[in-house]
């Protein structure tokens, strides 16, 4: 549906996008995941038509949409600060895009009512938007951007200003509502948990370019770059020139990691080993933090290398040694 090719953009001397290419299929939710300042929001603004100074091509349904101004693109954009019209009621906010499409008044009223119901705000139609809670504002913003049946929905950190507990719950609900409407969507976030929950596919962005473009599962299990691994909270990233890593992984299994600049030892592939299974690595437990259901532990190998891993139970006391096994598929070569 949407294709962007080689988009570059700069704010003065500050380059914000370097040749970004992406695709969004019909009905798909693509998640742009990356730290703040990586260019995600700028990319959204370019797609929406709010940013007009850039190089590259934006196509929708095969047509070049670059000359089309924002108000004729029929794309929905949900702003990070929601950008609700402070002078309009909840219902009038939602109706705004419908009125621009010159819909009949009765029809608008029906649509607004059904949208209010869809986002669970049935009773609040006449309320002043200033009186809403954060979660309610988020729903109004969503309903408003969905109302005119956009050809593409873009959401810029839609849960960014909400607290963590609310976020998990709302992320799922967002996915449900978007999927139900069948619209293609681009979802911008810096929170990987949110991305896993919402996305069909994830594009990991850093410093103005896309570093990886995969399914959520693939992104987590096989991060493609050192940046992606670290951004996803996977700490066991080592330079392949480090002699200690050679000592740790030397000889065993697939040696393809040696040709990459760095390597990730995915914590999900590190297990406690019982006698007899090989190869075994002897490590000392440095410390462990209970996370509710599991422990976040750090251990050191004899070579002095420190690894993080999750343990269901503590096999030994802090300072004592025990044995672990690293699965072959947990050794992931990383691009720089």
């Amino acid at each position: 549906m949407l294709q962007i090719e080689g988009i570059s953009h700069a704010y003065g001397d500050l380059v914000s996008l370097r040749g970004v290419s992406l695709e969004v299929d019909g009905g798909e939710i693509l998640c742009l995941l990356g730290p703040s300042g990586c260019g995600k929001t700028t990319l959204l603004r370019i797609i929406a038509g709010l940013e007009t100074e850039y190089s590259g091509v934006v196509r929708f349904a095969g047509a070049d949409i670059r000359p089309i101004p924002a108000h004729r693109r029929e794309f929905g954009l949900m702003f990070q600060d929601f950008a609700l019209f402070p002078h309009l009621s909840v219902a009038d906010n939602i109706a705004y895009g419908l009125k621009r499409r010159k819909l009949e008044r009765n029809l608008i009223a029906v649509k607004v009512r059904s949208l209010l119901e869809q986002v669970g705000l049935n009773e609040l139609g006449e309320r002043d938007v200033a009186s809403l809670s954060g979660g309610q504002k988020q729903r109004v913003a969503l309903a408003r951007s969905l109302a005119p049946n956009p050809r593409l929905l873009m959401l810029d950190e839609p849960l960014g200003s909400l607290d963590a507990q609310l976020r998990d719950q709302l992320a799922l609900e967002l996915r449900r509502i978007i999927k139900k409407s069948g619209v293609s969507a681009i979802y911008v976030t810096h929170d990987q948990r949110e991305a896993y929950a919402v996305a069909d596919r994830i594009a990991v962005m850093n410093m103005g370019s896309v570093r990886q473009h995969d399914s959520p599962r693939q992104v987590y299990q096989r991060p493609a770059s050192e940046f992606a691994a670290r951004f996803l909270g996977l700490h066991n990233v080592f330079s392949t020139t480090d002699e200690r890593i050679d000592a740790l992984l030397g000889g065993a299994g697939d040696q393809s990691w040696r040709s990459a600049p760095s390597v990730l030892i995915h914590p999900a592939g590190i297990r406690l080993s019982s006698e007899g299974t090989a190869p075994q690595i002897k490590v000392t437990l440095n410390n462990a933090v209970y996370r509710g259901g599991y422990y976040d532990a750090t251990v050191s190998a004899e070579s002095g290398l420190t690894l993080s891993l999750a343990l269901a139970d503590l096999p030994v006391a802090t300072g004592d040694a025990f044995l672990i096994t690293i699965a072959d598929d947990a050794i992931i070569p990383l691009a720089g």
Binding site: R45, A70, R72, F82, Y96, R100, P148
Partner: protein
């Protein structure tokens, strides 16, 4: 200990209240007393006169009419400019915004003369047009027309409206507008549905303020309009000074005060709306790229430059060129004191008078204004009451104040009428509301937790004020000082009444020189106006620099 501290505070609070009571309430009451009971008996002849003909009603209507016209034109010009200033980023923007504020601090006499130099029958434009097209008549006939008055009012108030709206628009951000664009709003729908409704509180607030300023316009109309265009304010002066009809003048003053009070109430309510917090993203200004954007920015900058610089440059040109030749004789003559002149002192001496009085008024207004701000910032009925109380001088015409001073402060122990002290005192009174309005927002912005933190760290109450409040108030204080200083430098209405002999200030000197028939005096008044303009501009820029440095520092 705590009780003693509170006791001390109460005593300190008394200072501004006492000042107001003695130098505002008392003169005003005296004024009404002498007007309503001239012979010790109630005599409402002033009001009877007021209502006996429709002349004064027409004066009131004209005052409203010209103020409404001035407001409409000011807003019409300032609105698009405010949009451009809030929306776009371009070189020199902050400088222009700062310069555009200059007229606001320029005294009315200077501005009136500047426009006469530009647009008058013998003004620069007429000379240029006559030379260019070899005309033997003057194509621009604006002297003593309503149009001239309106133009000057726009000049005056443009920056006020621009600043209020630009500030509000910037704080509003543009994400709401972009949301509307994504929902299908074209440029026209954006103005109709989003921009105008959103800017409305600022538009209203700026409008009311401009209306108030135009409603009370005195110097501009006295010099450029004449009695035919008399506003209420000019009519008060005229009835008191020329006709000596004190009961009528007082009756008119009362009408003026009541109208102003009504407008102040409207203004305060618009202020509350404007302070409603608006959630917004960081301000994203756009770089100017397309030719349409260039045209928009270019026209705004051009408009402001012409509006601002043309009259001031005309004034300077008229003051240094005599019959087409550069001649600084007008300036040289300012230092001469001659008994044959209209003045008691050499014109240049009035510069020292003005600087001295402005310094004193600034200091006094700052001290009293700070205390008053604390009083207003407090809780309870007293604070609400004092808020309204300290705004009263703003709602009273300077002419009325000066008039009241002369009547009330002429007996021991307050025999100040012949003393120069009466001038800084009257200026302090006029400047006080400006200081309070500048300091109060900063004061209210200080979270109470800061003071509590200081107290838990062992700071005594006055140490808290000294180490926490004052540094944080730096910006507000500097802005208040700007206003106090420039308001005092340019104050005309009250000074015209109370300034005597040696103590005349620059604006009074200029006015006297204009009134003196003869070309020499007129040229002297031009030179004097340039001097006052420069003094005001310097004071303004010095404090503007201070303000920026202060903000950087704290």
């Amino acid at each position: 200990m705590i009780r003693r501290a509170r006791y001390i505070w109460r005593t300190v609070y008394l200072a501004p209240v006492a000042f107001l009571a003695v130098f505002y309430v008392y003169p005003l009451l005296s004024l009404f007393d002498i007007s309503l009971r001239p012979a010790g008996l109630l005599d409402l002849s002033g009001f009877v006169r007021l209502l006996s003909t429709d002349f004064y009603l027409r004066t009131l209507l004209f005052t409203v009419y010209q103020a409404a016209l001035s407001t409409a034109f000011t807003l019409l010009l300032a609105l698009p400019c405010a949009f451009v200033f809030a929306r776009y980023r371009f070189r020199g923007k902050s400088l222009i915004l700062s310069l555009a504020t200059l007229p606001f601090v320029l005294p009315t006499v200077v501005v009136a003369l500047a426009f006469a130099s530009l647009l008058g029958v013998n003004g620069l434009l007429n000379d240029i047009a006559a030379a260019l097209f070899s005309l033997d008549y003057e194509p621009i006939q604006l002297e003593r027309t309503l149009a001239m008055i309106i133009i000057v009012h726009v000049f005056y108030n443009f920056a006020v409206a621009l600043r209020i709206m630009t500030g509000y628009w910037s704080a509003l951000g543009f994400s709401v507008e972009e949301a509307a664009r994504c929902l299908g709003a074209d440029e026209w729908a954006l103005w109709r549905d989003i921009r105008l409704p959103l800017i409305r509180p600022a538009l209203l607030s700026a409008g009311v303020l401009v209306f108030i300023f135009s409603f009370t316009s005195f110097g501009v109309i006295l010099i450029l309009g004449g009695i035919r265009f008399a506003t209420l304010e000019v009519q008060i002066y005229y009835q008191a000074v020329n006709m000596f009809n004190l009961p009528l003048a007082a009756a008119l003053s009362l009408v003026q005060i009541l109208s102003m009070l009504a407008m102040m109430i409207v203004y305060t309510s618009t202020q509350k709306k404007i302070h409603l917090a608006l959630a917004s993203a960081a301000v994203i200004t756009k770089v100017v790229r397309s030719w349409r954007e260039r045209l928009a920015v270019g026209s705004c900058v051009g408009l402001i430059s012409i509006l601002l610089f043309a009259p001031l440059l005309a004034l300077i040109a008229r003051s240094i060129f005599v019959a087409g030749q550069l001649d600084l004789g007008n300036y040289a003559s300012l230092a001469e004191k001659s008994r044959g002149s209209l003045l008691f002192i050499a014109p240049l001496d009035s510069v020292f008078n003005s600087l001295r009085f402005a310094g004193m008024a600034m200091l006094a207004a700052l001290i009293l204004g700070l205390i008053a701000s604390y009083m207003i910032d407090g809780r309870g009925r007293l604070s609400r009451l004092s808020d309204a109380l300290f705004m009263l001088p703003l709602a009273t015409s300077a002419v009325t104040l000066g008039f009241g001073f002369i009547i009330a402060l002429d007996e021991p122990p307050l025999n100040l009428r012949a003393s120069w002290l009466i001038i800084p005192i009257s200026h302090t009174l006029v400047a006080l509301p400006f200081v309070i309005r500048s300091v109060l927002p900063s004061l209210r912005a200080i979270p109470p937790s800061l003071r509590q933190a200081a107290q838990t760290l062992g700071a005594k109450p006055f140490e808290t004020v000294l180490t926490i409040d004052l540094p944080l108030l730096g910006r507000g204080i500097a802005v208040g000082a700007t206003f106090a200083f420039t308001v005092s430098m340019g104050e005309f209405g009250a000074s015209l009444f109370v300034a005597q002999r040696e103590s005349v200030t620059i604006p009074v000197v200029i006015y006297r020189l204009i009134g003196d028939p003869g070309l020499a005096s007129y040229r002297q008044s031009l030179a004097m106006s340039v001097v006052l303009m420069l003094v005001c501009a310097c004071g303004f820029f010095v404090i503007e620099r201070l303000r920026v440095a202060g903000v950087g520092e704290f």
